[in-house]
């Protein structure tokens, strides 16, 4: 990641502002709702009062409803589909199969990794609940009733669900339709210097190794996927309202799949009820709805049910990893190795930039200055749903961070070193930035020790270490464990030359228009799913133009009106579109100066802008000042002769580098030696995402992500039986944490600005989901490490923990420590 991007000079100029840019640590927002102010979220009024507008709220005259018939088998050849009984039903309009789609050349669609997936199964079902046929009816009940009447003859085949078994010679072939595919192997990938790393391992004082599975997870947004497709034969135009995190990219893909020219495709992503990466891919349901609308010339709605979402939506993780560290006897880490077996499901559909088949997994050197690193990965097809899509994790960063943070704990235990101390001995020093890692990534800025020290203080670390020892000494029923994770994230893709989605470079955009009456509309190419963009991006403009935050409206999600963007995922919105918003605002400010000069009857070079007051004034004469509101009026009513009227600017921002937010999390748990139950005693999260735009929104993001981290560590796993049946296909079996499972979080922050971002900000949305699972697992392991426990697999349900306790000889007999007092005169019984 070290090559120089070709950023135009003009953008570099705006990127580094004349006054050094905002510094929220020094002055916060100036009372206008700019940087650093806890502005109440603009979007919450409509959400809290039930006036949000989600895809399922969209209703159109004559709208039909689509229900998808799904395969009960994981691996089966379709012999025959008979839709006649469904078609004979009163309210059923049509039954669609692959045959119908083939007529319109819509039978397949590209995945985000350029694989080809059946929209409706043409020949062979490759995972359970794969889309086989679609019933279009006048209402959704009739569609569901009709789907039950579609008869499908299957020739059931042996499935393979486990990645290791899939690579065995006699494994069933998942992708027999591909000419060059003779086994289930998809690709091998490696990074780093194998030879140099082996050498370091050969000569090291100590090496440790640990196997760990980052289990398959479900992104579980509260809103499932859905679409309302509306083909207008009069306009030759396809409008699709859909649950999309990346409406423009989806427009391009829709156009490519359908052959409808891109200017005749409009994608609208209205309010979106959570995404977490689930809504980055294209799903067959969207295409079926669009195809049905095209064929029937009526609007068609498809809304996925919860179980359909869990069973088929782009999953996350499923990385089976072996980590190794080489170190000196003082705990200085010299080398890291990792080998991964990745289960990609039935199609290669991971959401990775095309140059990085394993995403950004090479961040596995973490926050540490490690001389040698080597990583290798093999990906396999299985008869499971496709995915590998980010779940609040930027492109496999979550897996990488889990690996390194777990391994550091394993090494600390091997050397009997305090896990905080061993981290200190290995952190990349704060004066070493920008820092190039052994896998070739350029870290922009960091101060890891500062964040760790703050977290240790907040967590009352020494007290809990003493308490931990006391309980061990007294053979108490509940053990204390303290887990640390000092993670480094990499977020904010591009640069476009290195990062793309389906070939489109990962820039992003902002279009800022100031109205004659002094308020403004900012249109952005990213799409909020709960991140608070309508507030945060308005704050950026407020900061950069001296406007009040309430006078700025942020629009997003409609490809007919918004500038092209790559969407919201991988914590990229603030690093990329946020930068575009700042640059667009600075361009407007530049033009505003010439209007100010005209209004104030001064030379343009004498006009200064004051960030504190938000006003423009004549140099040396602060009284001769003008606000952006007055300037806006001038731009439309009294524009200078040598300037165009109006006051607006567009910026397409291609980031020069990614940003590297980081943090230290400390988790204290109590482990019940009788039952294996784990309770959280303390949960401290110190984050550093550079300059902070809206601390309240950041804190909300942290809280939500930590809750998801707890779900990952304690509860969640998508499981399959040997027949390829999803055994956790509903929320009774796929367990999400509720408020009851979430402890009190204590959040803190440090601020290490990104040197290349226009306002010094980094992404933050995913840090807590990335950083917390290893802290939690480290804590549970730490409670038992005195008895030699080095790892516990996620999810750490009570039975899993109890079995670990039992094997380590730590499980307590019930009533181990009980005495009974029988009251008057009776002798206390002894156990």
């Amino acid at each position: 990641m070290s090559s120089e991007p070709d950023t135009p000079d003009a953008e570099t100029e705006y990127q580094h502002d004349e006054d050094g840019g905002p510094d929220p640590e020094k002055h916060c927002g100036h009372g206008r709702g700019g940087m650093g102010e806890e502005v109440t979220r603009k979007e919450d009024k409509r959400f809290i009062t039930g006036r949000g507008n989600y895809v399922d709220d969209i209703k159109k005259p004559g709208m039909l409803h689509c229900e998808i018939v799904r395969s009960p088998h994981a691996h089966a050849r379709i012999e025959e589909i008979d839709g006649s009984r469904a078609e004979a039903m009163d309210d059923v309009v049509a039954v669609l199969t692959a045959e119908d789609l083939l007529e319109h050349d819509l039978a397949t669609m590209p995945t985000l990794m350029d694989d080809t997936q059946d929209v409706l199964v043409n020949d062979k079902v490759k995972f359970q609940s794969q889309e086989v046929a679609a019933v279009i009816a006048k209402d959704r009940y009739a569609a569901k009733d009709g789907a039950e009447k579609v008869e499908v003859d299957y020739d059931v085949l042996d499935p393979v669900v486990d990645a290791e078994e899939a690579l065995e010679a006699d494994a069933p072939l998942v992708r027999d339709e591909l000419d060059d595919q003779e086994d289930n192997h998809i690709f091998d990938w490696d990074t780093g210097d194998e030879e140099a790393t082996d050498e370091v391992f050969d000569q090291a004082d100590v090496t440790v190794e640990e196997d760990m599975l980052y289990q398959r997870l479900h992104p579980a947004p509260i809103e499932t996927c859905g679409a309302v497709a509306d083909w207008d034969p009069g306009m030759d135009k396809m409008t699709v309202h859909m649950t999309s995190q990346a409406p423009h990219a989806h427009r391009t893909l829709f156009s490519q799949v359908s052959g409808i020219p891109e200017h005749k495709v409009r994608i609208v992503s209205p309010d979106v009820g959570g995404g977490f990466g689930n809504k980055v891919p294209i799903y067959p349901g969207y295409v079926v709805a669009a195809a049905a609308s095209y064929v029937l010339e009526q609007p068609v709605k498809w809304i996925e049910e919860r179980s359909e979402n869990i069973q088929t939506t782009g999953f996350a993780r499923d990385y089976d990893m072996t980590g190794e560290l080489a170190a000196t006897e003082d705990g200085v880490i010299e080398g890291v190795k990792v080998d991964v077996l990745a289960n990609h499901g039935a199609y290669n559909a991971a959401a990775q930039p095309s140059k990085f088949p394993a995403g950004f997994f090479n961040i596995f050197t973490g926050s540490y200055d490690i001389e040698a690193a080597y990583g290798s990965l093999t990906a396999a097809f299985t008869n499971t749903a496709p995915g590998g899509v980010a779940y609040r994790c930027s492109f496999r960063v979550t897996e990488a961070v889990y690996l390194i943070e777990r391994m550091v704990k394993v090494l600390a235990d091997e050397l009997d070193l305090d896990p905080a101390e061993i981290r200190r001995r290995n952190f990349i020093p704060s004066d070493a930035f920008p820092y190039e890692s052994a896998t070739g990534w350029n870290y922009d800025s960091g101060n890891y020790e500062k964040a760790l020290d703050k977290a240790l203080e907040m967590a009352d670390y020494e007290h809990y270490r003493e308490e931990q020892q006391r309980r061990i000494d007294e053979d108490a029923d509940k053990l204390i464990g303290i887990g640390i994770s000092s993670f480094t994230e990499v977020v904010g893709a591009g640069p476009g030359k290195q990062c793309d989605i389906a070939g489109i470079e990962m820039f992003d955009s902002a279009d800022l228009r100031v109205n004659p009456t002094g308020n403004a509309v900012l249109r952005v190419g990213v799409q909020t799913q709960g991140q608070g963009h309508e507030t945060t991006f308005a704050q950026i403009v407020a900061e950069e133009l001296g406007m009040d935050v309430d006078s700025i409206t942020v629009e997003h999600g409609d490809t007919d009106t918004e500038p092209y963007g790559l969407g919201t995922y991988g914590s990229r919105s603030t690093p990329v579109a946020g930068a575009a918003a700042a640059v667009a605002a600075r361009k407007v400010r530049d033009k505003a100066k010439s209007i100010a000069a005209n209004e104030l009857e001064a030379a343009e070079e004498d006009i200064e802008w004051d960030r504190e007051s938000g006003e423009f004034h004549v140099a040396g004469a602060p009284d001769r000042s003008i606000t952006i509101t007055e300037i806006a009026a001038g731009a439309y009513m009294n524009h200078p002769g040598d300037e165009e009227p109006g006051l607006e600017a567009v910026n397409y921002y291609d980031p020069p580098e990614m940003t590297y937010p980081f943090g230290s999390y400390i988790v204290v748990v109590e482990v019940d030696r009788e039952t294996g139950e784990v309770d959280f005693e303390k949960f401290v999260a110190v984050d550093d995402c550079g300059n902070r735009i809206n601390p309240m929104i950041i804190e909300g993001q942290i809280h939500g992500g930590l809750a998801q981290g707890i779900g990952t560590a304690m509860l969640e796993k998508v499981t399959y039986d040997d027949n390829g049946n999803v055994t956790g296909g509903d929320f009774m079996n796929y367990l999400l944490p509720t408020a009851n499972e979430i402890p009190n979080f204590e959040t803190g922050h440090t601020v290490t600005p990104s040197p290349h971002h226009p306002i010094g900000a980094k992404g933050v949305g995913e840090s807590p989901t990335v950083g917390s699972p290893p802290a939690i697992v480290n804590a549970v392991v730490d409670a038992m490490s005195h008895a030699g426990v080095s790892h516990v697999e996620m999810p750490m349900t009570p039975d899993v923990v109890w079995e670990t306790l039992d094997e380590a000889g730590l499980a307590h007999q019930p009533a181990h420590n009980v005495e009974f007092d029988l009251g008057d005169g009776a002798e206390p019984a002894d156990d």
């Binding site: 029923d477 079995e803 009980v818």
Partner: protein, 297 residues
């Protein structure tokens, strides 16, 4: 919810309900909908006819009468959770109510409906067994009282007749030397039990256990009694050893299966743990002993 179409009847009296059960073809009774509604939603249940008893106001009660606690068919889990009477006198009910499902479901789901559903992972069946309670089944021939021991047959299968509905469950009012408790282990709020144990202990005036009832959740094909443990306890004074052996006996008598909630061995072990914990609480509530955990933390 996109259930298959069904016919919906709303009787306002028990008599009306019974005559509907008599006249309709294979009707399904809807009370709180805690189990039926998800089954309709998944189309695992596709009844042609549903008899919705929520309009029968006379079944909405929780009271003591003639020496027993009585819960009508419309008493919700939340009614038990919020009841002062339960808090004062019925420790096992007070323990169990807040552990059932989640608050939304407790507002709607009924205790009787849960017993009628006869899911071995349901909590109330174990409590009914531990208290040696009764199920009142009302049909064309009037009421009959079925002892809890004779009610559960198989998962989701009971001795309730096709034309009967459960109008009430009852358990004996506790005497002065009696205590009860329920302990449940689950992975999260709203999850079914990994294992659960309900206990009722009756002591004589000398502190000897006169009668013991133990019901187990999620560790057999129905809610099941731990009779070996009960026998071991009766006639003895409480002690950690006594309860430890009772725990082991209950675990031995349990018959759990490995599933997503945990392995069979683990569940057996947890029956032991939960039995001992529940016995300790029940004995304390009876005022017989004070249980002291030497090192609690």
């Amino acid at each position: 919810m996109k259930s298959a179409p069904f016919e919906h009847h709303e009787p306002e009296t028990v008599d009306e309900a019974v005559s509907l059960l008599e006249s309709l073809d294979d009707p399904t009774i809807l009370a709180g909908g805690q189990s039926l509604v998800p089954m309709l939603r998944f189309r695992l249940a596709n009844p042609d006819v549903v008899v919705d008893i929520n309009g029968i106001d006379s079944l909405d009660y929780l009271r003591e009468e003639d020496g027993s606690l009585r819960l009508g068919a419309l008493a919700r889990h939340a009614d038990v959770e919020d009841s002062d009477l339960i808090d004062e006198k019925y420790g096992s009910f007070a323990d169990a109510a807040p552990l059932v499902a989640d608050p939304q479901i407790r507002n709607r789901g009924t205790v009787v409906g849960s017993v009628a559903q006869a899911d071995p992972k349901g909590d109330w069946g174990s409590i009914l067994l531990a208290h040696e309670g009764e199920v009142i089944a009302t049909g064309p021939d009037g009421d009959r009282a079925v002892p809890a021991d004779e009610f559960f047959l198989l998962p989701y299968d009971t001795t309730l007749g096709e034309q009967e509905l459960i109008t009430e469950i009852r358990v004996p009012e506790p005497g002065p030397n009696e205590g009860s408790a329920y302990h449940k282990l689950k992975r999260k709020t709203g999850d079914y039990a990994m294992a659960g144990v309900g206990v009722r202990l009756v002591f004589d005036d000398d502190g000897v256990i006169e009668s013991a009832g133990i019901g187990m959740t999620a560790v057999d094909i129905t809610n099941a009694r731990a009779t070996d443990a009960e026998e071991h306890l009766e006639g003895e004074r409480p002690s950690p050893d006594l309860f430890a052996t009772a725990g082991e006996l209950a675990a031995e008598q349990s018959n759990p299966e490995s599933d997503e909630h945990g392995g069979a061995d683990y569940k057996e072990r947890m029956v032991d743990v939960l039995t001992q914990r529940a016995l300790g609480d029940a004995a304390e509530r009876a005022g017989t002993v004070t249980v002291e955990r030497r090192v609690t933390q």
